[in-house]
Amino acid sequence: MNRIDLTIEICGLSGDGTIAAGGLLNEAMSRAGFSALAFDSYPAEIRGFGRCVTRSRFGFDRQIALENQTNLLISLDDEQSLSRLPFLAADAVVLFDNHPPSPVAEGKSIAGHARPAMSLFGAPFRDLAAAASGSAKGRNLAALGVLAGLLNLPVDAFRERIGKKFKSKGEKVAAGNIRSFDAGLEYVLKTYPDRLRPLPVPAAPAGQAEKVLWSGNVAIGEGALAAGLKNYFGYPITPATPIMEYLAARLPAKGGRVLQVEDEISAIGAVLGSFYTGARAMTATSGPGFALMTELITQAVSAESPAVIVDAQRGGPSTGLPTKTEQSDLLAAVFGGPGDTPRIVIAPTDVTECYHLTARAFPLAEKYQTPVIVLTDFYLDNRVENIERPSISADAVADALLKPAPDQAGSYHRYQVTPSGISPRALPGTPGFQHNITGLEHDERGVPDFSPGNHQKMSDKRDRKIQGALADLDPPEEYGDPGPLDVGVVAWGSTFGSALDAVQSARDQGLKVGCLKITALFPYHEDRIQAFMDRSKTILIPELNHSGQLNTLIGHLGRGRIVRLNQSTGIPLYPSTILGKIHELIGEDRS
């Protein structure tokens, strides 16, 4: 079987239907059995004059990262597409509209700039669509038709998806759009019969599990639903808004509520109120909103209140780069907030983990009576992967509330000091267990107590409890050679996929390298991380932030040389960049 590794980009101006076309492509390819990972980028303004780019990587094996080399570009707007040239493979294929709606400015045609080894396929996307459907709007679909014909993709998958997508706009629109697609298809078959490049299509493996094409945000929503989320409180913010909107369409049917509140302070406040009664609650936000939650997060630490908070990171600081990706909230998630405020911070590295870690955040929050921060990032939230539909056992998300013994009625101590630091928690409504929770320092009963011994005891308890949670957090996973490594890469979040991809390539090249995936960021598995570092001559920590935040957090564990690879660009760290660094380090080492 041929190994397929195909990256397709569609580039246009907002309004060109770029994102829609990319979505359809992903769905159709997924349907056809390809594995997919795709990520769009679009402007922060609604109708700015911004560029939209979708990038999809397809193959037979599971796709774990995007690469910055594109094999095929569909240009819906030549001027915008010119910016993509540096990212096209030397022998890339370019499909473009040879009769676009507005004439291409002098010297701005993509055809005029393509490098010699590239293959160009012009087609009158607009005219094809207009002729087929009566509307030029379908030119993005005509372009998909050209693509499907050129690569001999399973056209029924496209037709079905197009029909489905436009059903809500009426039978006529849907049929017209399918015709636009077909027009593109016929055009390419007729015009370039001898330049077609049929792609092998994966055989449908028997008994394959159902696959879903999910974004990280959908997986987060599904994970929360799987965990029996009762109340979602949120405030719109990119890239977390789709989580709220996804749940708004589904949670009410399950008897839950989605409430858009007046700000993020209110959102986290309501989450704490709901969880106080035992009803699982969650909020999702991004940097600016997360910043506003700081005070109540510290209160939750002190009052030992459960909460699940998704921080969908975007480019920072402040309002920053609302539609770009970054991993720069790590230290704020771990250390943000005055006082000694240990809490749990976990970070998924792919869509499947978005599901699992979100679901498991609920019992963790309940059991350890603490805020659990799930750190994702734009690249994870908005990418789509087609994955086996994840599921989680009822056990894994079962109610983790430790209730007090009934005979404690009347003498219940909410903050009883225990060896684990975990105190039984009674819910309002339980007769005889009335108590107060508070962010003031308190004694075991919950009554304010500022005496020195008490503060020490309660600080110890809170710390002990969170450190104890390590037992329930996934230990770091090692990939690659088990022995001594020339370079050991330590990665988290969306960068991990790229790191693993780079390490796999390096190993294919015979290099002695490995990779460590960390999903538990606080508390973290010191021993395991140190063990991996100890067998690495050089430790490489690639991160999508400026200051090397993971390195700040765990760097002290490294007894060897640590090298940071940081990037503040708002775009993912690609495997090739990490691979380049590995080569450089091993080269240095040898010289």
């Binding site: 209110s266 406040g269 709901s274 009664t277 109540l296 209160q299 009335q434 009554v447």
Partner: protein, 270 residues
């Protein structure tokens, strides 16, 4: 001659000793002797008792301030959150378990200052929670700075030349925000508090209780027992609380009447 504060303190003490209500927790209130909060405490407790609510079915959420300490002195469930956030938490509690009776309590600094952004939304969302604002027009716990409801000309260490800002009128705000139950009350009239609380807790929707009270320790100038006692009087007999527009018109010209200013006919959405 006994000061009104003294009289109230004595009254409260006699009530405490009578043990008529057992909803108080074992904790002794940490308020200053003579503080108006004792009267509010009494008024609220009495309402809960008379409504026959089980203590364990009641959650009192509070922010920070002398008023914010309230839950510790009550034998219900209590959630003492941070400064200004009692309403968000209270709404979460209500959605978490709609069977609970939920009270949010706090001071004027807590509710009109730092927490003032949540008040409009709690009101217009109209969940069935009960918000009792302990309005002494001062920041008590931090030792006497002006608050958003402080009258002009108040001299404190933080305002040595006297305050100059227009004070906020919480009753007017609640009405402007669309609250479906609005009462104005006085700490020196615990019975009035009890009556209004009973009606408000029964009201299915957001109920707001604006309680005039006195910080005997830090305000010797405006909201003293004397000044308040001399000012307040009941709403005129026959006042009809069913008309929101009328209520607003009244509150624009009348700072002194006590009672239920507005109650929407029961059809609250939550």
């Amino acid at each position: 001659m006994k000061t009104p504060a003294r009289r109230l303190a004595e009254k409260v003490q006699s009530i405490q000793e009578s043990n008529v209500f057992n909803i108080r927790s074992g904790e002794l209130p940490t308020w200053c002797p003579g503080c108006g909060y004792f009267g509010i405490h009494f008024g609220i407790n009495n309402a809960l008792q008379r409504l026959g609510l089980d203590h364990h079915q009641v959650v009192i959420v509070s922010g920070i301030g002398c008023a914010g300490r309230y839950p510790f002195f009550s034998n219900t469930y209590g959630h003492h959150t941070v400064h200004g956030r009692s309403l968000p938490v209270a709404q979460g509690v209500k959605l978490g378990n709609p069977n609970l009776t939920v009270l949010a309590v706090g001071g004027d600094g807590d509710g009109l200052g730092i927490g003032g952004g949540h008040f409009p939304h709690a009101a217009r969302r109209n969940f069935d929670i009960n918000y009792v604002l302990f309005d002494n027009s001062i920041y008590g716990l931090t030792k006497g700075q002006p608050s958003p409801s402080t009258p002009k000309g108040f001299k404190t260490k933080a305002s040595p030349e006297g305050t100059v800002d227009q004070p906020l009128n919480a009753t007017l705000l609640a009405l402007s925000y669309g609250a479906t139950f609005v009462a104005r009350l006085f700490a020196g009239d615990p019975e009035g508090i009890t009556t209004a609380l009973m009606a408000g807790i029964r009201h299915k929707g957001f109920s707001f209780f604006h309680v005039y009270t006195s910080c005997v320790t830090f305000d010797k100038q405006f909201k003293t027992w004397n000044n308040l006692t001399n000012r307040v009087r009941p709403l005129p007999a026959g006042y009809d609380p069913a008309d929101r527009r009328r209520a607003i018109e009244r509150v624009l010209v009348d700072d002194d009447s006590l009672g239920i200013f507005y109650q929407e006919p029961p059809k609250g959405k939550e």
